[in-house]
């Protein structure tokens, strides 16, 4: 099948787009409002974009209540954020933190998670995480629709500091499969990485 992505004439109940751009890593992002309120929310339109220097980006849609999501409002106010790695052991907590909560709701409390202070930025990381990236907001790129209306944005951040739980480091290398990272597919589907395979570059 083929469909026009602008007319969105797929004819299905759900647009299959998210089911084919897969598997999407989950940036589970901590941010902080100007008044110190902490927000935690998962974003699967997320990835690294450069390694040296280290940059990451995530896509921010419109909140269910309308207007920008709390994470983006916070980033634009206080400029810093932490990307927590979403893993199998924390999948339920991650899912709980995706609730459409009011800005003053503390998703750490709601999901039964503890905070751990970051080294270089104000927002805390999730204490139990296998890895986290401490970031500074770099740029927000509007993603307009055909009529010029902008509801979605790409938010780019520079990585300042990187935390990795020592349990997952062996002889100077990270054992990614042991972390059991989870990823997002389409609909209500997720996948978990429990083993890796290897391919060497041809040159």
């Amino acid at each position: 099948m083929f469909y026009d992505a602008i007319r969105n004439d797929h004819g299905f109940q759900y647009d299959p787009f998210k089911a084919i751009v897969v598997p999407r890593p989950i940036g589970w992002i901590t941010s902080m409002a100007a008044d110190g309120t902490v927000n935690l929310a998962p974003y699967s339109f997320f990835n690294a974009f450069s390694q040296d220097p280290h940059y990451v980006a995530y896509g921010s849609g419109t909140a269910a209540r309308g207007g920008p999501k709390d994470t983006l409002s916070n980033l634009e106010a206080t400029k810093e954020f932490v990307v927590n790695l979403a893993t199998w052991d924390l999948r339920e907590q991650m899912n709980l933190s995706s609730t459409n909560a009011a800005p003053d709701v503390d998703e750490f409390e709601l999901a039964g998670l503890e905070r751990e202070a970051s080294a270089l930025v104000a927002p805390p990381r999730v204490k139990q995480v296998a890895a986290a990236l401490e970031c500074r907001h770099y740029q927000t790129v509007p993603l307009p629709g055909d009529d010029g209306t902008v509801r979605d944005h790409m938010v780019i951040g520079r990585v300042l500091g990187i935390y990795i739980d020592d349990r997952f480091i062996d002889d100077g290398r990270v054992d990614t499969a042991a972390m059991k990272p989870i990823s997002r597919l389409g609909y209500s589907e997720y996948a978990v990485v429990t083993e890796a395979f290897r391919m060497r570059r041809p040159d």
Copy 2:
């Protein structure tokens, strides 16, 4: 462990960054030079960033021979590209296409792949793929280092058309696990999705 991402003082042989931003979907990108030469190359700094309108982005580093990679030079010249979904059945071909070839090398031929004409853009897709996104270049965002030098870029594209092999559609839904999408981890590691688990949003 914690390291400063700007000083990069991790002390390991390889920066562990790519081993913790995981699993990364692979955008296996077809582009076309002004003279019609087709290029095919995999990018794991890739994801969707918005669903309505549909936008994707990938991170482009510097070619091993210096200067921008062929995909980016092509995109800026001819404005169109196709993102092919990388799957288990095509993993060896995908890996072969990652070679640091000269601009005039046809990676389709090199990897033993056939081309299939796209519906809305000039670059072809890989004939054997489970899914492909036909895209138009939207914006290139420079990702500078601390001294202001720019070697890496984020390349954003608008999706115009979406192809999905009917074999993977059942009752209006895509069976993502049946496509066996592969993803990139750190070092020489990859993972494959062969099954999904479900979690419903809390609200």
